[in-house]
């Protein structure tokens, strides 16, 4: 195959970029320069092949060989958007195929000291402030996809918290994918700067129309200053034809805490890279993940914790559930840098295979260059306990429900930590179908039962409240 006849995949993407550059309005010079550098980087390394260790189990041809256009409109029926939107009180930024939709966003509840806005707005207000940090993390060296993102990026979410700011409602960044005639791609950026002792919950929600087949390549960079606490959720319910690559890097200062919940339920091809840099004492990262895939879905979770300073802590627990011919990848790495003493790093991964043809490639890795550390890791893979299935059925519970219950129970260890009921409900529905009750029952019944004498009246009263 000679190059002058068939342009390479990289060239095709770069052609699109060139066409885009021609119609895009004037930009600050720093952006143009970074685009150019990113494009050069992308061209130099190209899409990862399976020969690249980090991509050994994940074939990106679905993206590489795809024809993805760019779009400029954010049209989406409000009724349909409402049906897809997570039903919680939230501050909300919505992007439709990467394009900001003011109509589907809601920024009313923002407290003083917090700013949540689309990237275009942040650039218009003060592009230098954005330029000072954008790309410092998850930069063009991070991966070919991060470079590709930087070359194309125009829109995204910018979340800034002044020191001491506490934002109560979750900040939802919603990415809607449409069933377009022509598949499209988007390269959103998420930039989170959490000032000292600030606290917030950010939820990235990937969802869309059932027949969509788009490519979303999102890059997130998170800066946590001293004592900041950020809880980050991914609720990934992308349409089953979508490809999604998410690269997220967090930089943590002293005593900061980053808690990540990653829930994968959708997508045809999904890849997450999650990296925390624990740069100062007391910094702590917790990663909790659940990936559930069926059909021919492919879900790859690569996580990395860099213990760059002494007395930093990490804890990780990922559960994978794979049915049909789905394929999962879990690669979790913990690195303890030289002289980073008194580290604690725990990592565990358990996988459940619901069919003979489902497949998991699990690889926990520890790299330790210090001697006074407490690190543990482990991975297991198994099947549903058929004796337990029989035990449930022998009490009158139908087979499908019994299997659903046991599958959900497998995810329980991770799901118990999820603070947002709406997410637990989505998981329950996806994994187990419609169960007879809320799984393991709502707290209402439990407390009513356990409190002596709080029988009939107690519950009736609660309901009337």
């Amino acid at each position: 195959m000679s190059e002058d006849i068939q342009p390479s995949a990289e060239q095709r993407f770069l052609e699109r970029l060139k066409a885009r550059d021609a119609v895009r309005g004037a930009e600050p010079t720093w952006i143009a320069a970074r685009r150019q550098a990113a494009a050069a980087r992308f061209e130099a390394i190209g899409f990862p092949s399976k020969r690249v260790e980090q991509w050994k189990y994940t074939d990106v041809r679905r993206i590489r060989d795809g024809e993805f256009a760019l779009t400029d409109d954010a049209d989406f029926s409000p009724a349909q958007a409402a049906a897809l939107t997570l039903p919680i009180e939230a501050i909300r930024l919505t992007f439709v195929d990467g394009v900001f939709s003011p109509e589907l966003s809601d920024l009313a509840d923002l407290p003083d000291g917090a700013s949540v806005e689309p990237l275009t707005q942040a650039l218009a207000d003060n592009h230098e402030a954005v330029g000072a940090v954008l790309g410092r993390l998850t930069g063009v060296e991070f991966s070919a996809f991060a470079a590709l993102n930087m070359a194309f990026a125009e829109e995204g979410a910018v979340i800034r918290l002044a020191p001491g700011t506490v934002v109560e409602p979750p900040i939802v960044v919603q990415f809607l994918s449409r069933a377009n005639e022509q598949a499209v791609m988007s390269h959103p950026r998420v930039l989170i700067q959490a000032g000292a002792r600030s606290q917030a919950t950010v939820l990235e929600h990937f969802v869309g129309e059932r027949d969509a087949a788009n490519f979303t390549n999102v890059v997130a960079e998170v800066f946590l200053e001293r004592g900041a606490i950020l809880t980050h959720y991914n609720l990934q319910e992308a349409p089953l034809g979508d490809a999604l690559v998410q690269s997220l890097q967090v930089e943590q200062d002293r005593d900061s805490r980053f808690v990540s919940f990653n829930v994968d339920l959708g997508g045809a091809l999904v890849r997450h890279d999650l990296v925390a840099e624990l740069n100062a004492e007391g910094a702590e990262a917790q990663y909790y993940g659940l990936f559930f895939a069926q059909g021919r879905q492919h879900v790859d979770n690569h996580t990395l914790v860099n213990h760059n300073a002494p007395r930093t802590f990490s804890d990780e627990n990922y559960k994978g559930i794979l049915g049909d011919r789905a394929r999962g990848v879990f690669n979790g790495k913990v690195v303890v840098k030289r002289d980073s003493q008194q580290i604690e790093g725990n990592q565990s991964n358990a996988n459940l295979l619901l069919s003979d043809r489902a497949e998991i490639d699990a690889k926990p890795e520890l790299e330790i260059y210090a001697d006074d550390v407490k690190c543990a890791h482990g991975t297991t893979t198994g099947q549903l306990d058929e004796d337990a299935v029989f035990a449930l059925r022998s009490r009158g519970i139908d087979e499908q429900t019994a299997r659903g219950l046991l599958t959900l129970a497998f995810a329980g260890e991770v799901m118990d930590k999820v603070g947002l009921d709406a997410i637990a409900e989505r998981v329950e529905l996806a994994v187990a179908g419609k169960l007879p009750e809320r799984f393991n029952l709502g707290s209402l019944v439990e407390t009513g039962l356990l409190e002596e004498g709080a029988s009939q009246g107690g519950v009736a009263d609660d309901r009337n409240d």
């Binding site: 519970i397 139908d398 087979e399 329980g412 007879p436 029952l441 439990e446 039962l449």
Partner: protein, 250 residues
């Protein structure tokens, strides 16, 4: 109520039951006794629908319905419940959830709606107290980390909540100390009624001091070879099984 006729069952190619006949009527408590390997547990497992047992001949009917044609869960909903010899641990599924989901499944099969939460709580509390179990137990995962005695009590608790027409108890007495045995026996006795029946499989006569059977059967080499009343159990205890074997061979 339960009619087992000429039942032949093989497990992994080996014939375990070789023409078993048994009739259990409503209101009766039956005990099936026999030495290890006689096929006692196979009988209850086949009635409950456990996989791995092949019925090569014969029939099982429950209230006139062909049990062998019913799904496992349908048998339970029809009122056929098996108390396990070795109750399985189900991590991540709370006892309270299992009880409620199971009860509602049976109610739905009978065309009744879901049990209202207050009514359910009242019922469960009552049965828990009867089995001398702490309410905190409801929040624990099914059988996870339970002692042998707790697991058996849990089986009976499920029976009390689900109120089966026919309760089958497979070696429910194994591994129980005398106090736990009394609690379990009280639970089983409370199930006795004109409409219900109990089928116990046991190794030891001791259980039958607490749950007095109407009929006792001796299962030897895949067949019921002798039936009698509670005195037969006492005789078996003192004389062993050899004389029955000789008698049936004669």
């Amino acid at each position: 109520m339960l009619e087992v006729k000429d039942l032949h069952v093989t497990v992994e190619g080996k014939e375990i039951l070789k023409g078993l006949d048994l009739t259990v009527n409503a209101g009766e408590v039956h005990a099936i006794m026999g030495p290890n390997g006689a096929g006692k547990s196979t009988l209850s497992a086949v009635i409950a629908g456990k996989e791995g047992y092949e019925v090569t001949a014969g029939s099982i009917t429950f209230e006139g319905e062909d049990v062998l044609e019913m799904e496992i869960e349908e048998r339970a909903r029809a009122g056929l419940l098996l108390g396990f010899q070795y109750p399985v641990e189900i991590p991540g599924v709370k006892n309270i959830y299992l009880l409620k989901a199971a009860l509602n499944a049976s109610r739905e099969a009978r065309g009744e709606g879901e049990i209202p939460a207050p009514e359910f709580m009242k019922l469960v509390k009552e049965k828990l107290a009867f089995m001398k179990m702490d309410p905190s137990f409801l929040q624990r995962a099914v059988n996870e980390g339970f002692s042998g005695g707790e697991k058996k009590r849990n089986e009976i608790l499920q029976m009390l909540v689900l109120e089966p027409r026919l309760a089958m108890l497979d070696e429910i007495d194994s591994g129980l100390d005398i106090d736990a045995m009394k609690i379990v026996a009280d639970g089983v006795n409370s199930l006795r009624s004109e409409e219900r029946a109990v089928l116990m499989v046991t190794h030891y006569q001791r259980l039958l001091d607490y749950i007095v059977p109407d009929k006792v059967h001796v299962l030897l080499d895949g067949r019921i070879v002798k039936s009698g009343d509670k005195d037969l159990a006492i005789e078996l205890e003192s004389r062993g099984y050899e004389w029955v074997q000789e008698e049936s061979a004669a």
